[in-house]
Amino acid sequence: MLAACGLGISVYLTIVHYSTSVTLACTSSGVVNCEKVTTSPESRFLGVPVPLFGLAFFVVMLLANLPAAWRRGEPWIRIGRLAVAAGGVLFVLYLVYAELFRIDAICLWCSAVHVITGLLFGLVCFGTALGEPEAQAA
């Protein structure tokens, strides 16, 4: 469910990134400013729009968190899911730093994605810890 929500917001942010229509207005505080964040140089990473990373991340997480995926015991699925979640949350930490210290503005939609990524990471961590297969009999 979290991955599905994150995917939905990532789709919206991807559309916003490529959309040509903009709102010709500022927020009254100047801090919450989605347009400033989504059009900043930091909105691209290695030349790729950040929303596309989010899109790919949530597609992978959606598939990796399906009940069938959790039921399978292969280590590469468990470790891969954990690694992707960890990579996602490290990227989120970079994006939060960029918003606060380089862009000087926050985007509430982006923040929602960040929170979902953090929660997903927590759930995957605990799920992986609790779901470790029992040791095989010698």
Binding site: T23, L24, V89, L93, D104, G118, C125, T128, A129, A138
Partner: protein
């Protein structure tokens, strides 16, 4: 019995591993939370705890004020209204007056590039009904979209007219301070009530509620956001912008002029179409049809 003991040992080891993994998971999650909280605290705690009020803007060059205030009606008629991407929206509220005259209220901020764009047209439109004094010169935020858009500031400005009254408030400067912008003008309770009522649904979309620039024309028309794209002003000083006003073929004249005519039509709608020398101009009448005034 030996098998049972081995199974019990393996089960105990598995439980130990599970408990250890849970601790690792909890620690990892806690580290992430603390990292985010730490970033926020570091950001908020950086610098003075109370933002200092910013210094007043410089005065706008007299030549620029003159160029905008004396913009020829021939040029304004030539540019028409198409340069205004959006026009004032007709609303129906209780009469808003000051000293018996319809009151126009502008609320914006110096950091805001969209306010920067709209102020050019506001100065030009209101100059057709009265006279400006002490107009400031400023530019929008250096770190925002459309950076350093050169423009006027209403902070400390005076306006006198026998047709309409004006209140202009710049709530913040263009100087970043503690993640926001240094405060400038304070809104009166009446101005706060206006923005709370009319810069909100159903007058503007919920997504745009509270946005600036916000302009209330005597509770009969309102503007929330810029009427044209500030891109046309990029890279130009105030003098360079003013120098293009009398060229009806320039993008600057087209955008600012079109918006000026639209704002003029809104003001005319509050002054019973007075003065006739302004409100009967062809471009103003064309704009009046667009805004439904």
């Amino acid at each position: 019995m030996a098998v049972s003991k081995r199974q019990k040992r393996q089960a105990a080891e598995a439980q130990k591993r599970k408990t250890r993994n849970l601790y690792i998971a909890a620690t990892a999650f806690a580290v992430v939370i603390l990292a985010v909280v730490g970033l926020v605290i570091f950001k908020v705690a950086g610098g003075d705890s109370k933002p200092k009020p910013a210094a007043a803007s410089n005065l706008a060059p007299t030549s620029v004020v003159d160029a905008v205030s004396n913009w020829s009606t021939d040029t304004l008629n030539a540019v028409g209204t198409s340069g205004a991407l959006t026009v004032p929206k007709a609303i129906s509220g209780p009469p808003l007056k000051q000293n018996g005259k319809p009151l126009v209220v502008y609320i914006g901020a110096e950091y805001c590039p969209f306010c920067a764009a709209e102020r050019w047209a506001m100065v030009a439109a209101l100059a057709r009904f009265g006279k400006w004094h002490n107009l400031g010169a400023t530019h929008s935020s250096t770190s925002d979209v459309y950076p350093d858009t050169a423009t006027f500031s209403f902070h400390g400005a005076d306006y006198a007219s026998s047709y309409v009254a004006f209140q202009g408030k710049e709530t913040a400067s263009n100087v970043p301070q503690n993640g926001a912008y240094a405060p400038l003008d304070t809104l009166t309770p009446e101005q706060e009530a206006l923005i709370r009522t009319y810069d909100a649904a159903p007058y503007v979309s919920s997504a745009d509620a509270g946005s600036i620039p916000f302009i209330d024309f005597a509770n009969q028309f309102l503007v929330a956001g810029a009427s044209y794209d500030p891109q046309v002003l990029q890279g130009m000083s105030m003098s360079e912008i003013a120098a293009q006003l009398e060229n009806p073929k320039s993008d600057v004249a087209h955008a600012i002029g079109g918006t000026t005519n639209a704002l003029t039509a809104a003001i005319c709608g509050t002054t019973n179409q007075e003065p006739a020398s302004v409100c009967t101009q062809p471009a103003v009448q064309a704009a009046a049809k667009r805004i439904g005034g």
